[in-house]
């Protein structure tokens, strides 16, 4: 049980990361990652929707026939996103002013439908909710990384305006990396998102290969040691 939870967490955060491995959910990814703060906001909003959707679908999975599962999932996801939008607008208005822009965009995120379809509709509620949480956090990680890279190159700052999203106590997040800086327009505009995503994907591939090589050489070392004795 425990090792299964660990596997779900690892897959969500890194091994089967929505962006870096599955390469889905790119529409909201490229749309909002001009700054790290926006990426963080979008990531957190998506994560919360993903957890609720996965749990709900997993809970009702025995009732849903496979032939009509897609329309039912779409209706459920749209319902939850709208619900989150309404509730946030009414009772978390300050946060809604910052995140409000991103919430309707969550509907366009095929990653949610993807997780619901490939995982939550076949797994018990607890596993499904955990998968939603971990996949969401992995997505957040990707958004923040991409946003940070674009923001540093594009504007020379990191987490600008984070206090608007998280409150005054997070003022320490707002840092200036390159000053004075004239800005690099390409990175702030959509093409910069594609370029930076390409670099990040390449970076992940290199890192994974290095890790695999190290694991292999460690294994080979062990085998050699075993042979000698």
């Amino acid at each position: 049980m425990n090792s299964e939870f660990r596997k779900i967490s690892y897959d969500g955060l890194w091994g089967n990361n929505i962006v870096f491995s599955q390469s889905i959910g790119l529409c909201p990814l490229l749309a909002v990652t001009g700054t790290a703060t926006n990426g963080l906001g979008m990531g957190l909003a998506t994560t919360s929707v993903m957890v609720v959707c996965s749990a709900l679908v997993s809970y009702t999975r025995v009732l849903i026939p496979p032939e009509i599962r897609i329309p039912i999932f779409v209706v459920l996801i749209a319902m939850i996103v709208t619900l989150v939008d309404l509730v946030m607008n009414a009772w978390l208005h300050e946060m809604h002013k910052v995140l409000g822009l991103f919430i309707p965009l969550i509907v366009t995120n095929c990653a949610i439908l993807g997780r619901v379809e490939s995982f939550a509709s076949r797994q018990p509620v607890r596993e499904a909710a955990l998968d939603g949480l971990m996949m969401g956090l992995g997505f957040t990680l990707a958004l923040v990384l991409l946003g940070a890279a674009r923001e540093i190159l594009g504007a020379g700052t990191l987490f600008a305006n984070a206090t608007l999203l998280l409150g005054e106590s997070f003022a320490w997040l707002e840092t200036v990396w390159i000053a004075p800086y004239r800005g690099f327009l390409l990175m702030a505009l959509p093409p910069g998102g594609f370029l930076m995503l390409g670099f990040l994907l390449a970076g992940k591939k290199i890192l994974d290969r290095k890790l695999a090589a190290r694991a292999q050489s460690a294994q080979a070392g062990d085998a050699a040691l075993l042979n000698e004795t």
Binding site: G34, V62, P65, M79, G183
Partner: protein, 248 residues
């Protein structure tokens, strides 16, 4: 007497038996329905079940959203009124008026291009009009119109300008927001009288107002928008100042 009673008893017994039979049939139906749910794999294949479950899903979603809308609409309206109030108080200083701006609205403008029908919030001090604030859409932004809230005193001198909504590039054009930079304050105190038309431009075009590094289109659009808002006020000044309190 006893005869009648006997008949009534017979009657009620028949009714009771009828009802019991009905109940029994219902129970049987229910049992059969439950049995079907025991064999959910079989049930899920049936077309009528699929129709019902899809209908049930959409019905549930509509119901939930309807209830949520009812539950939140009041709070959302209140928040939006608060937002409006706070924007208004940023463009019209408290010293300028002593009335409730949200309840002092007049609609002016012909609705023709360049002269849109606009809700104007009229500031009053001791009963006489002392200024006005209205939303104005500035065209020519980098991506779509930029919605401004413009506040002027009686004579058309700007008391404050704020950007209410825009879709400019984050990190570049969004410096027009008050929360991101002080740029928008450069309009305070300006009017058509002290700034000639050739100065209602960004510095790059030979005017008075700064542009941003890497973004000229956005400030250019805002400057032009504010100027046209002032022209709108000048055109309708008499009408606005004469409007009845609480009208609209």
């Amino acid at each position: 007497m006893s005869n009648v009673n006997w008949e009534a008893m017979q009657q009620s017994r028949r009714v009771l038996a009828e009802k019991l039979r009905l109940l029994e049939t219902c129970r049987q139906h229910w049992q059969r329905l439950l049995q079907q749910f025991d064999d959910i794999d079989n049930l899920r294949q049936r077309l009528d079940y699929q129709t019902y479950i899809l209908a049930a899903a959409t019905l549930t979603a509509s119901l939930v959203l309807g209830i949520a809308d009812l539950a939140t609409s009041g709070a959302i309206e209140k928040r939006q009124a608060e937002d409006m109030q706070s924007t208004l108080s940023q463009v019209l200083p408290d010293t300028l008026h002593d009335n409730d701006l949200l309840n002092s609205v007049a609609t002016v403008g012909t609705g023709e291009p360049g002269d849109p029908a606009t809700s104007v919030y009229i500031a009053r001090k001791s009963g006489s009009a002392s200024g006005a604030a209205f939303k104005w859409s500035a065209g020519g932004g980098y991506s779509g119109p930029i919605l401004l809230m413009v506040g002027v005193d009686r004579d058309g001198r700007l008391q404050g300008v704020r950007v209410v909504a825009h879709a400019e590039t984050p990190g570049l054009g969004d410096k027009i927001e008050r929360s991101k930079s002080d740029w928008i304050l450069a309009f305070d105190g300006r009017s058509l009288d002290d700034t000639a038309p050739e100065h209602w431009k960004v510095k790059k075009d030979g005017g008075d107002f700064d542009q941003f590094a890497g973004a000229t289109i956005t400030p250019r659009a805002v400057v032009r928008g504010v100027e046209s808002a002032l022209q709108f006020y000048r055109r309708h000044r008499e009408e606005i100042l004469a409007a009845k309190p609480g009208g609209g």
